[in-house]
Symmetry: C2
Subunit: 219 residues, 2 copies
């Protein structure tokens, strides 16, 4: 794409993202943008989190998908409020799409808003949606070289969730190698090793979420 | 993105793709564009194919990656000629990138040219690279709903390789469901169930490749 066109698109996106960030700050809503490859387990992580923390926090979810509302249905089944954005083949969510739906939430009564982006390790990374943090999710079935091969997400993410660790015995994935790459790109990145299937490791993820919510509410 | 800009970009891409297609036709090179999520096993499928068919066919590989030349090194280790295209963060290969490197191959002495696209189920689908066929690769760890959620690739692909079937006992993946979705989008799609780890199912993939090469050479 022509570089100047791309710059204009990203600038326009950033302007709307700053508007959103001001709204989320005023309402004290922690906003987390979940980014991963297709099938890394974003929706499964949300299902577990929403079920396990439903008595602690009021949580909303924006579900981005190229097609179908399957994920929004899975999330809504936990009792959480979920809004679907269908990009009709588009490869990422942008701030304007988020702005178009946030009035469907009662933001004053939400502690955490999760944005589940389109499954894509590349394009969603460049489009700020007004979030407090991007969360990178990586399944051990994808290989431990993903931070090295798709570095931009891991440079910007606040946390990296290594999911499906119940499969570690059956795949070639060196957790230390993936962590080392992630940390070399971004020394501050928090790393969680979890299995949404067995629930192993989810407690650390929940502890981190609690801390982020209280930091946001103190601001 | 502005629709007219997007249309212009795709038209310019299609024009170069048609030039490439004429060159590949003249040289009788079968060109296959491998598209999948990150970590579905495109490079592993290439490693096995290049090793197992090295005495039958002369094979070239164009490796597309956001960063690193890890995959080109893995492919070159089989003895095949591999050219790396580093997109510097870009989310797909396009026809102009392919045109820029094809003179590095002796096309008159190549039977099959594999293009390993950037790991991304969305963007690469729209950018014709002059190939004879797109090949969709899907790991069973990603979930059987991917054809439904990312339909465009499966509508256009000539073949769908379901990879990592050695993991079927450990994940929730219904092969029949994935095949049914794939076939509902594209009744002519060929489906292969393989494990690059155990080599299960690769013979059917090789038989299909042999048939495609002979069809191309008869043209």
């Amino acid at each position: 794409m022509d570089i100047s066109i791309e710059r204009n698109i990203l600038e326009a996106n950033d302007n709307v993202a700053q508007e959103l960030r001001a709204i989320f700050a005023e309402k004290k809503v922690l906003v987390l943008n979940l980014i991963s490859s297709p099938g890394s387990g974003k929706t499964s992580l949300l299902e577990k989190t929403l079920s396990d923390l439903r008595d602690e926090f009021k949580i909303g979810v924006i579900e981005g998908d190229c097609q179908t509302d399957n994920d929004a249905k899975r999330v809504a089944a936990t009792g959480a409020k979920a809004i679907q954005i269908n990009t009709d083949g588009g490869c990422h969510l942008d701030s304007k799409m988020i702005k178009n739906v946030i009035n469907d939430f009662d933001l004053a009564n939400i502690d955490i808003l999760f944005i589940e982006n389109v499954g894509n390790l590349v394009c969603p990374v460049e489009f700020d949606c007004g979030e407090d943090a991007k969360i990178a999710i990586l399944s051990v079935a994808e290989g431990d070289d993903k931070p090295e091969k798709y570095p931009r997400l891991f440079q910007l993410a606040h946390a990296m969730v290594i999911n499906k660790i119940d499969l570690l015995d059956y795949v070639d994935f060196n957790v230390e190698r993936a962590k080392k790459f992630g940390k070399s790109l971004n020394n501050d990145i928090e790393v969680f090793e979890v299995s949404c299937r067995t629930k192993q490791g989810l407690d650390s993820w929940y502890a981190w979420l609690r801390k982020q919510v209280s930091l946001k509410q103190e601001k």
